[in-house]
């Protein structure tokens, strides 16, 4: 009984150490688990694949540093996929912290595919207002975002000459860690203007988007680091998502082990009482 009680009330610092090891060891010594691609991720991949070169997609960077490990890898993978197919990308942000991440993804992918700012892609920066920003941009992008994120007029950039509003956008993808984010695009861009909308969200919020996916309001759904890893598998370009999956796998396994162990102690203790 005493042993059971002790194990049940184990010092949480031991738990912390085990979690640290479960994350660090797989990062240092990768196991390279095979990554199976799920249907919601494959759907978004197919949607991008179906776009012809020269099409224009809108990426919305609606996340911050706290959710970067989950959302940034999918952001980068989607930018890479679009650039590899010569698709033009316009970036905006409903979160102020998302602008820099969008820039970073553009910078990395542009170097790899030889793309030029203002011609192949542009970052229009952050605008406060959430759903109203989406609604206003749907009607007139130039009025809503008259300048890019550095303050230069968008009239200077060739990419914006043919893009006036959502009529000229072939796909919208929101990389979202909360509100405002994907829901705003579903309500306005998909619901009202009938645009194709895809999304990449954190693992914890992914279950909330399944109804939209099932109803055909979302063209695809990337959930958490796993979603990013699956997309990286599809574009055959390993990145941060793939490298993080080993650590996440072991950490999940360990947490489940803790839950099972604690319940075994709990049930054993109850029986003895």
């Amino acid at each position: 009984m005493k042993v059971l009680e002790r194990l049940e009330k184990i010092d949480r610092r031991y738990v912390f150490i085990l979690i640290l090891l479960a994350v660090v060891i797989p990062l240092l010594f990768p196991i390279n688990f095979k990554i199976e691609v799920s249907e919601p991720v494959a759907m978004l991949y197919r949607t991008v694949e179906e776009l012809s070169p020269g099409s224009c997609v809108l990426f919305s960077f609606d996340y911050g540093p706290s959710t970067m490990p989950e959302v940034y890898p999918m952001n980068l993978a989607l930018v890479r996929h679009c650039f590899s197919k010569d698709i033009k990308v316009i970036g905006i942000a409903l979160w102020p912290e998302g602008v820099q991440f969008g820039n970073e993804a553009f910078r990395v992918a542009a170097d790899e595919y030889g793309k030029e700012y203002g011609i192949d892609y542009i970052n229009l920066g952050y605008k406060a207002g959430g759903v109203v920003v989406v609604s206003a941009a749907a009607e007139d992008i130039a009025t809503t975002f008259p300048q890019d994120y550095t303050g230069r007029s968008i009239e200077e950039f060739p990419i914006m000459t043919e893009v006036k509003n959502f009529d000229n956008i072939d796909l919208i993808v929101s990389f979202s860690a909360g509100d405002p984010g994907t829901r705003e695009y579903i309500r306005i861009a998909q619901g009202r203007y009938g645009k194709k909308v895809g999304t990449g969200v954190t693992a914890v919020s992914a279950p909330a988007f399944y109804p939209y996916l099932n109803a055909g309001q979302l063209q695809g759904l990337l959930g958490g680091m796993k979603g990013a890893a699956e997309y990286e598998t599809l574009i055959q370009q390993s990145g941060l998502g793939t490298s993080g999956m080993d650590a996440q796998s072991i950490a999940h396994g360990l947490i489940i082990f803790f839950i099972v162990l604690a319940n075994v102690f709990y049930i054993a203790g109850r029986r003895k009482k």
Binding site: P69, A128, G129, A136, Y210, A229, S249, I256, I259
Partner: protein
């Protein structure tokens, strides 16, 4: 007049926004865009108001030496540094704002969130108990979904991802839909109450 004017503005603005959704043609489409632009301008002023309020609270905290006043100094210093860096050099790549963002804000913010992993692990050991049939069901579902979402799960049992997908696509979706429909009905009724002037707490806080 103090109450009537805001009520009239709310009614007119609300009705126009409803009508323009179903009739996206002149003059409603133009009105919608005009209202959107007004909203965006007001939002910026609300942001400024929020910033000033934040500074006022922290200046007060420092001047009265309230508990944690040193943290307020850190906050205001960070705010001033980021503000000056952004306004003077802009947010472009390689500028001071960008450098501070990547080398201070991102690591600190990520670290705070990463701590969650440790607390979740600790909580899972201490709190997740199969005390009732409902709790057991929740626990089993959580374990199946957690394992199905990582490659280790399919490595252990190839059918696990299918079970996880089934849980997400049926029981989860049914629950999510019920929540969403409930929220939507609540939003519609509250909005109508505000537009029609029945709900007036936003005017005086009473």
């Amino acid at each position: 007049m103090k109450k009537e004017v805001p009520l009239i503005i709310t009614f007119v603005a609300g009705m126009i926004m409803i009508v323009q959704y179903f009739v996206p043609h002149w003059p409603f489409s133009n009105l919608q865009q005009m209202f959107n632009n007004w909203f965006l301008i007001i939002t910026v002023f609300a942001l400024i108001l929020g910033i000033l309020n934040l500074l006022k609270n922290h200046i007060e905290k420092v001047s009265r030496r309230r508990k944690g006043w040193l943290y307020s100094i850190v906050l205001m210093t960070g705010f001033m540094i980021m503000g000056v860096a952004g306004f003077v050099w802009g947010p472009a790549e390689g500028r001071p704002f960008d450098w501070i963002y990547w080398h201070a804000h991102v690591p600190m913010s990520s670290t705070m969130f990463a701590l969650l992993a440790f607390f979740v692990a600790s909580a899972s050991y201490r709190a997740f108990r199969a005390r009732t049939a409902e709790a057991t069901l929740l626990l089993v579902s959580a374990i199946l979904v957690m394992m199905s979402r990582v490659p280790l799960g399919s490595y252990m049992w190839s059918q696990l991802p299918l079970i996880g997908d089934w849980i997400m696509s049926y029981p989860n979706m049914a629950g999510q839909r019920a929540i969403m429909i409930g929220i939507a009905l609540g939003v519609v009724s509250t909005s109508l109450r505000i537009i029609l002037g029945i709900e007036r707490t936003y005017l005086s806080g009473k």
